[in-house]
């Protein structure tokens, strides 16, 4: 049984059929990349998997149990975490606090306990803080903990988003263009981090444009075009796929 199983997922907006009958699966602890031209429906696909959008039809299974149609916060509790293409960090909160939100599903203090600051809550809070700091240090931005997250440079914000997603201790992480807007060094750093994540036993699904990154890290690639899956396979196979070359890489002068 595959870890993540996507079956016949479809969704349209108005007349635009953003995702049509997309199916694929991801094995436990694999890195799978989704590529395709802008507007191919990649981000919509992520939104469907993470529950941000309900699918019009189709199913999503995680370890065999269905998660389609669940609200995003419930899906998050099933161990799926994500980052966003246009970075969505929480404004007016520090880097550390942003990452601490990631610990939300791993802690349980309620309103009353928090207001009264019960001993149990204090202990939990300490745990949240320490774990979050650990993650920041792991990703090498421990020194930024007290900065306001949204005032950081672009590259750092990506790392914070990463840290936040990791703090949920996910089984599956969805990365939406993690290298967008980053220079070559930062991209290299990101690719290292993705490998690090995988070593922790986390399955990775990544949307990316940077071909060098994609080809380097992914075990398998799904190619989308105009909402449809046009190819799936190992990087080497994808590179040879004529259809992919025609659609994705330009006007087929190969």
């Amino acid at each position: 049984m595959n870890f993540l199983e996507v079956k016949g997922l479809s969704r349209s907006f108005g007349g635009l059929r953003a995702v049509q009958e997309v199916s694929f699966s991801v094995e436990k602890n694999a890195i799978k990349a989704i590529i395709g031209p802008n507007g191919a429906g990649k981000t919509t696909l992520f939104n469907l998997i993470s529950g941000a959008l309900p699918p019009a039809s189709g199913q999503v299974f995680i370890s065999g149990s269905p998660i389609h149609g669940l609200p995003p916060h419930r899906i998050a509790r099933r161990g799926i975490s994500r980052t966003f293409q246009n970075i969505k960090l929480f404004s007016r909160m520090s880097v550390l606090e942003n990452v601490m939100i990631g610990r939300h599903i791993r802690s349980r203090a309620g309103f009353l306990a928090a207001m009264l600051r019960l001993p149990r809550t204090k202990a939990e809070e300490r745990e949240i803080r320490e774990t979050s700091m650990d993650i920041l240090s792991l990703l090498g931005i421990g020194d930024l903990a007290d900065q306001e997250a949204t005032s950081l440079p672009f590259g750092k914000q990506r790392v914070v988003e990463f840290a936040r997603a990791l703090a949920t201790e996910p089984d599956l992480i969805l990365l939406d263009e993690p290298a967008a807007g980053l220079n070559i060094h930062e991209t290299a750093h990101i690719s290292e981090m993705i490998m690090k994540i995988r070593r922790r036993g986390i399955t990775v699904l990544v949307i990316e444009h940077d071909m060098s990154l994609v080809m380097n890290i992914s075990d398998e690639i799904v190619v989308l075009s105009s909402g449809k899956k046009i190819a799936e396979g190992a990087p080497a196979a994808i590179q040879k796929n004529g259809e992919v070359i025609r659609v994705y890489l330009g006007e087929g002068d190969a």
Binding site: G39, E177, G181, M211, S212, M215, P235, L249, E251
Partner: protein, 244 residues
């Protein structure tokens, strides 16, 4: 025609462009390629006046427009076809196009709108068929044509196109690029930002490569197409060579 020197710009505290310089000569097609988030759209938006320039100068035909409002810049002859097209969904094709001529209609009420529309319709016959249809009901390619047509209605000296191929099927992309090539033939100057680097470089005279808000490379299209770094990062050359 357009000369940018040491331009800094961004949103709030975030600085996206860091000392960008470039120039476009009359009658040229110049393309800017770069990854997502590298600042190429911001560059066009800054020239158009939508994003405020924080530092540096933008000379359009010998005048600094870096502090001007967008409407002044349009009147000065520089139009932007924005990313995502941004047509007026709730208005008809005809209304969309006529608003493109807004600055001239305001200046001179007698402007022969119909004649101007005919020029655009001649260029994009599909739009004539859809003249009284609402903009929002057009297909992606038609919307892109409408956006370009709307910009042309202002009779710009310089047209800036932001990702015209975005979200379009390959065959439509091909058409759009064909139209762009024709525009140059008609004497327009074009600054093109494109993610589809190969297609862009193929119709451009010169190109720039932008990375995290800085120009890292400049050259003729030929040079850039053959540059190793460019091939690796933007043309997928590396694995293509593996494949070949």
């Amino acid at each position: 025609m357009l000369k940018i020197r040491n331009l800094n710009a961004g949103y709030g505290k975030l600085r996206v462009l860091k000392g960008v310089s470039l120039h476009v000569a009359p009658g040229e097609i110049v393309t800017i390629i770069g990854g997502n988030g590298s600042g190429k759209s911001t560059l066009l938006r800054t020239v158009a006046g939508i994003v405020r320039a924080q530092e540096g100068e933008i000379m359009l035909g010998g005048r600094d427009i870096s502090a001007d409002e967008p409407e002044t810049i349009v009147s000065a002859g520089c139009s932007l076809v924005p990313e995502g097209r941004l047509i007026f969904n709730t208005m008809t094709v005809r209304e969309n196009l006529s608003l493109g001529a807004y600055p001239r209609l305001r200046g001179d009420r007698k402007t022969d709108l119909q004649a101007e529309l005919e020029v655009i319709f001649a260029m994009f016959p599909r739009l004539r068929e859809r003249e009284y249809q609402l903009g929002g009901t057009l297909s992606g390619g038609e919307q892109q044509m409408l956006a370009i047509g709307r910009a042309l209605m202002a009779r710009p000296r310089l047209i800036m196109l932001d990702e015209p191929s975005m979200g379009l099927a390959p065959i439509i992309v091909k058409n759009i690029f064909e139209e762009i090539r024709k525009l140059r033939g008609a004497g327009n100057t074009i600054l093109l930002v494109e993610q589809n680097a190969r297609a862009a470089l193929r119709i451009a005279d010169r190109g720039y490569v932008i990375e995290t808000g800085q120009m890292v490379l400049e050259g003729t299209s030929e040079e850039l197409l053959n540059n190793n770094d460019v091939q690796r990062a933007y043309l997928g050359k590396e694995y293509r060579s593996i494949g070949e």
